[in-house]
Symmetry: C2
Subunit: 421 residues, 2 copies
């Protein structure tokens, strides 16, 4: 690579996997930096991630109103659309790769930015290897996102802080409501995270408002039905109320998801039941304790809740996008942007680093065992210290009359260089 | 009544019924005004509404830190605790009333403020009549609250605007997430309101963000299963996604709640099912369309969501509390504070009026028929115009590190006048 003469050509950005409150902030970081970069001749957004490349549906970001693009900072969900498309192993079937190369050539795409989780980093890695193997010069960069916070090699992930702030705030508010009547009540809050408990652990941050959940169950520990019922009964008998935060991904010791176990079924005949884990556990507690029980599933609300995006998360998500572009133009390829936690004058700061795509792809980071209490129903102060800086800072989203003003992109289809009519 | 010589004595405030995001703003309006009022000799808060009076558990608000009291403006749920206690008809059983009189005499209580919905206005009305009948001078005032917005005689109710803002914002955010994949998705959002559709109608305000729900079903119209499935299929086939807002209280033409109907049950054998209406309708659609369907119940989140309280609602809730105290000291009794919508220079303003308790008690205000579309699956522009001013205005809640800072009251038990040690 030659730093004095950066690679000239167009760039394309794709968004992939489950959306977050700040994935568009990263997109804006990429788009803004790329539009400002002389070496990058055109900035395209792929419709629904890599499928937009395969289907030749690219949007010309250069034709968007800059003010609307800036609103992406506070617009939830993936503005360009997402996908869960998994590329084949190129040694077995290279048809997708040949198609991608064709499109890259058509638009003279020399920079590929992919905004997603570990599956997306796998996609990046495969594309990079293929382009290398055919001698097509193209810089490939991963921009991380996931509310699950489970990407390997990075201190935390863009999207996590905002979802954590949403969860902590909601738990704090609901906890107050849950004990408003003298008659007593148990509330089970189901939180996302199929394999890692980072999001569910964030419920503990409600303790900063004096509203900590009484019990927290993460997928990192096997779920024991009897132990759970005893935990809830103990708290309820002592306090006349109980708030439980539980990960959707908790499993029994035999590996069965609690949400799918037959013994959880409502009628004991193994009929499938409606509603998710929260409803199942609520029913379990109701039968055992005979008290009022409510199940609440935070569902999409927790990953779409841009109105509660953490200022820190928005800023870092944006910076990650910019850093990807700047690094690629400087000659870097085959890397994902990672975050390193640091301190300056005793205050949290985030440094941006580059991680090999292969390190990140298809690995998962769990909540460390020592951050879970020995009883397996809570998290430690170490976790709180880890998570607090990530939820800090108000976002400065735009509203009109108390309602969010999201970005409205024109999404004008791209025309290859030299083909303008 | 003699305006030159206001009634001297203590006051007590109780909170009753389901909490809201701003019921404590009204409580603060009462407490602040009462503390500032020379005729009022002591300000008590009743623990869990009228049951706190019956159990002689009153807290001395005069001993609270003024800054903590002010935080009540943005603290959700009923800080004093709530109840759903229904007083007997005094002609059949006056034991509760005699106990209330005893406590009122014990603390020299001459002002009774009750913060609640229509049942609470019934409580107020009964207490007022009883005190009158025994010749005990006491001013009784209702301070309205209900997210349901169903109180008769008032343009709207404190608590509604904040829940409406929460619902509109959440629907807008989730709607964006619901169509992020090219594979298509239906999302059913279940919203509170057992008898009146005001809250569910508020989902339509997401249209101001370009994210209107596709279909809205209110309890004011009978629910037709076939019509509903056809509506969803039509939208889904056209758009590849569909977002439905539905009231928990929708019923079939025969009066059965859809959430309780046997035909809704998952296995067709009439076994009780877990999960609520959203899960039932999601299952219905999944069987019919075979597509990805998600049910989301906003549950307690929508009434506890103080972080999204509307600035207008907070200000009006507070003003209603103050107005109740000022009116009572000026000689008024047996009234509930009501809101009249007015305009000044083309801008929405709210005027405070006094309504007879009996007008309000046990009546319910529904969404006007002409504000529901002829197809019964949406609301009109008239509703939007009605609701928009109520969700407007940011609240200036206090946060620490991105998390809410709620009021922390000391709740020191009251000592009757002259009994201080």
């Amino acid at each position: 690579m030659d730093k004095r003469q950066p690679l000239r050509g167009a760039c394309v950005l794709g968004q992939s996997g489950g959306p977050t409150a700040v994935i568009n902030a990263s997109a804006y970081g990429v788009i803004r930096a790329a539009l400002d970069e002389p070496a990058i001749t055109a900035v395209y957004g792929a419709d629904h991630g890599i499928t937009g490349v395969l289907n030749d549906i690219l949007y010309d970001m250069g034709q968007e109103d800059p003010e609307e693009l800036e609103l992406l900072l506070h617009t939830p969900s993936s503005e360009l659309g997402s996908c869960r498309y998994k590329l084949a192993d190129p040694e077995k079937d290279d048809s997708d790769y040949r198609r991608i190369l064709e499109i890259f050539r058509k638009y003279d795409i020399r920079y590929f930015f992919y905004n997603g989780g570990n599956d997306s980093m796998d996609t990046c890695s495969k594309i990079s290897r293929y382009m290398n193997s055919v001698g097509y010069e193209c810089r490939v960069m991963g921009v991380p996102k996931t509310i699950d916070n489970d990407l390997y090699g990075t201190d935390h992930c863009p999207g996590y802080g905002s979802a954590a702030r949403y969860i902590a705030t909601s738990v704090a508010e609901v906890n107050r409501d849950n004990r408003v009547y003298p008659t007593g009540s148990v509330c089970i809050m189901e939180i996302m995270g199929r394999h890692a408990g980072w999001l569910t652990a964030a419920a503990a941050l409600a303790g900063e408002c004096g509203e900590a959940p009484d019990l927290i169950y993460l997928p990192e520990r096997p779920f024991d039905r009897e132990r759970f019922l005893k935990d809830v009964a103990d708290v309820y008998n002592r306090k006349n109320s109980c708030l439980v935060a539980v990960s959707e991904g908790v499993r029994y010791a035999d590996g069965t998801f609690v949400s799918e176990a037959k013994e959880s079924s409502t009628d004991g005949f193994g009929h499938a039941q409606l509603g998710g884990l929260a409803a199942i556990l609520a029913d379990m507690v109701r039968r055992e304790l005979g008290c009022k029980v409510r199940g609440i599933e935070l569902s999409l609300l927790q990953r779409a809740g841009a109105h509660l995006a953490s200022g820190t998360d928005v800023a870092e998500a944006y910076a990650a996008g910019r850093f990807a572009v700047e690094s690629a133009v400087a000659g870097v390829t085959d890397k994902m942007v990672g975050f390193v936690r640091d301190e300056e004058d005793g205050k949290y700061v985030c440094r941006y680093v580059l991680l090999p795509l292969e390190t990140v792809a298809n690995a998962e980071k769990k909540v460390p065992g020592e951050w879970i209490t020995p009883e397996g129903n809570g998290v430690t102060e170490d976790f709180i210290r880890y998570a607090l800086p990530l939820v800090a800072g108000e976002n400065d989203r735009k509203q009109i009359g108390g309602l969010p003003r999201f970005a409205r992109l024109k999404k004008i289809r791209a025309v290859p260089a030299g083909k303008e009519s």
